[in-house]
């Protein structure tokens, strides 16, 4: 348990915006502050990345802020779950009072996404892996999926179920990129264009513009603000690899450690979670993460998600926004996991609301199963 709460949450414009990264950042930050009933001058802590070399300083400059605490750990998609931990610590230690965690990308409008990823010439990966032309991160997740199916005898269809459930959720979320589109079937996923076998385009997340922000402050102060506080109950993280050859077992991820730490800190167990937002860069990511976090055993995630069990009306709702697969994926999706978790706990999700949700989990994954961070959030009881 911590004495810190999320007091505000919001998205920037989403989809194909034609806006700059800093415009989307400013949208997200100002909307999250308005949601909390706070203003820019209240902000004395800022955590963000993906803007420039000096990301937090850059955003502070753009917003006209001079924060006394900043954080820009770069860990791909899970950075924001890590920032929640750092922010909670900084607020509890008294270094700052009001932290904004933000992110935005215009990758769709700017056409800045490459199938090769970013190969940094001075890294071992450039020397020993890039010559073989793996798609980054696609081919790594594909190899994880291949190994996972081989070891546990899991059928290809089980992976597709993750994409089907995500689409079903997205059809209930007017903000989702796939809102208003047709439902997806297992057959659709399998017959979509193959990118890196066994994964097709339908196993992979969207490439969209988007962003969001959350506002953190002490629970005590949050109780006096505009919205019902969402408590930060626990957090944990683990980074494991940058190389595609480093992991001894592709089916075991750092979620094992980040999840165990988060549950221990919160004094909770997986069975206490009412709704989970689990990074879905690819369908396989969700299966490996469900197992790593302890929602089911090794090799059991296929059965766990089968038959719409994680979809609308299912026994265990996962990625209720529609996820990175069907709602929005701005390159680093972890901030939007937090936004949806907050909204579920506040009961604001309309047609996709999980009734009576009191404990939510947000789990981010960065890179090629490189970095993992788990946050447990709860209503203020």
């Amino acid at each position: 348990m911590t004495g810190v709460a999320i007091a505000g949450a919001a998205e920037s414009d989403l989809g194909i915006t034609g806006e700059s990264v800093l415009t989307l950042q400013a949208q997200a930050v100002t909307r999250a502050l308005a949601d909390a009933g706070l203003v820019l001058s209240d902000v004395d802590g800022l955590a963000t990345c993906g803007v420039s070399r000096f990301s937090a300083t850059q955003v502070a400059d753009y917003l006209g802020l001079r924060p006394v605490w900043t954080e820009s750990t770069f860990a791909g998609g899970c950075a924001f779950e890590m920032y929640v931990a750092r922010a909670a610590q900084a607020i509890e230690a008294g270094q700052c009072r009001t932290v904004v965690i933000s992110y935005a990308s215009n990758q769709r409008s700017a056409r800045s996404r490459s199938l090769a990823g970013v190969v940094e010439e001075h890294t071992p990966e450039a020397l020993f892996e890039a010559p073989y032309g793996p798609l980054y991160p696609f081919s790594y997740y594909a190899m994880a999926a291949q190994r996972y199916m081989h070891v546990f005898g899991v059928k290809r269809e089980a992976l597709a179920e993750v994409a089907v459930a995500a689409r079903d959720w997205a059809l209930l979320n007017p903000k989702a990129y796939r809102y208003g589109s047709a439902p997806l079937t297992v057959r659709d996923v399998l017959s979509a264009p193959m990118v890196s076998s066994p994964l097709t385009t339908a196993d992979a997340c969207l490439v969209t513009d988007g962003g969001g922000a959350v506002v953190l402050t002490s629970l005590e102060r949050a109780r006096d603000l505009r919205r019902a506080p969402v408590r930060v109950l626990g957090y944990g993280e683990c980074v494991t690899n940058t190389s595609m050859a480093a992991a001894d077992d592709l089916t075991v991820t750092g979620a094992v450690h980040s999840g165990a730490a988060a549950f221990a800190r919160a004094g909770l167990v997986p069975g206490d979670v009412d709704v989970a937002q689990i990074y879905d860069s690819f369908t396989i990511t969700v299966l490996l993460t469900l197992e790593g976090l302890g929602f089911c055993g090794a090799g059991e995630a296929g059965d766990f998600v089968a038959g719409g069990r994680t979809g609308p009306g299912g026994a265990f709702p996962v990625n209720t926004s529609g996820g990175g697969l069907s709602y929005n994926h701005p390159g680093q999706y972890g901030l939007l996991l937090l936004v949806e978790a907050v909204r579920q706990l506040r009961g604001e999700c309309g047609d996709r609301q999980v009734p009576g949700a009191e404990v939510a989990l947000a789990h981010g994954t960065g890179g090629i199963l490189s970095a993992h961070a788990t946050v447990l959030l709860g209503v203020d009881r």
Binding site: H122, P124, L127, Y132, G133, R147, M194, V195, A245, D248
Partner: protein
């Protein structure tokens, strides 16, 4: 395979790996303190922290840990489809590589190193099926 792949050496620690490929020799670092093999090459041993390491030839045998057929080119010079794989060497370390040869690939299939020439005389280690391994006697 990209023709632009020429700058494959970046200092003394990794140079020996690539120089050995001129002789079609696969070498992997071995720690002189604890005996552990590791790849990619580093200035220290990740098992014990030792800094005395040597390059030692390996058998060139391994098994497919996993693989993926790439259907889209990540950059100019690559011509899909090709098969990217993680191969677990008999000596322990895992390499990212290509699988070559006309085979219905599966995980855990035995493979043997093969060499793809680079424009500057070095070679890129790739792997092909090795049906005589590991069951063949005497290995």
């Amino acid at each position: 395979m990209t023709e632009d792949f020429r700058e494959a050496t970046s200092g003394p620690v990794t140079e020996e790996f690539w120089e050995a490929t001129r002789r079609r020799l696969l070498v992997v670092q071995r720690c002189l303190a604890c005996g552990r093999r590791q790849h990619y090459p580093r200035w220290l041993c990740t098992a014990c922290g030792g800094t005395e390491l040597e390059y030692a030839p390996v058998s060139g045998l391994g098994v497919v840990d996993s693989f993926t057929v790439v259907h889209r080119a990540p950059a100019p010079g690559f011509e899909p489809p090709y098969t990217v794989a993680r191969v677990r060497l008999a000596e322990g370390p895992i390499l990212l590589t290509h699988l070559v040869g006309d085979t219905d690939w599966t995980c855990d299939l035995p493979v043997r190193v093969a060499w793809q020439p680079l424009p500057d005389g070095r070679h890129l280690p790739v792997f092909r099926p090795a049906r005589d391994w590991p069951r063949a006697p005497g290995r």
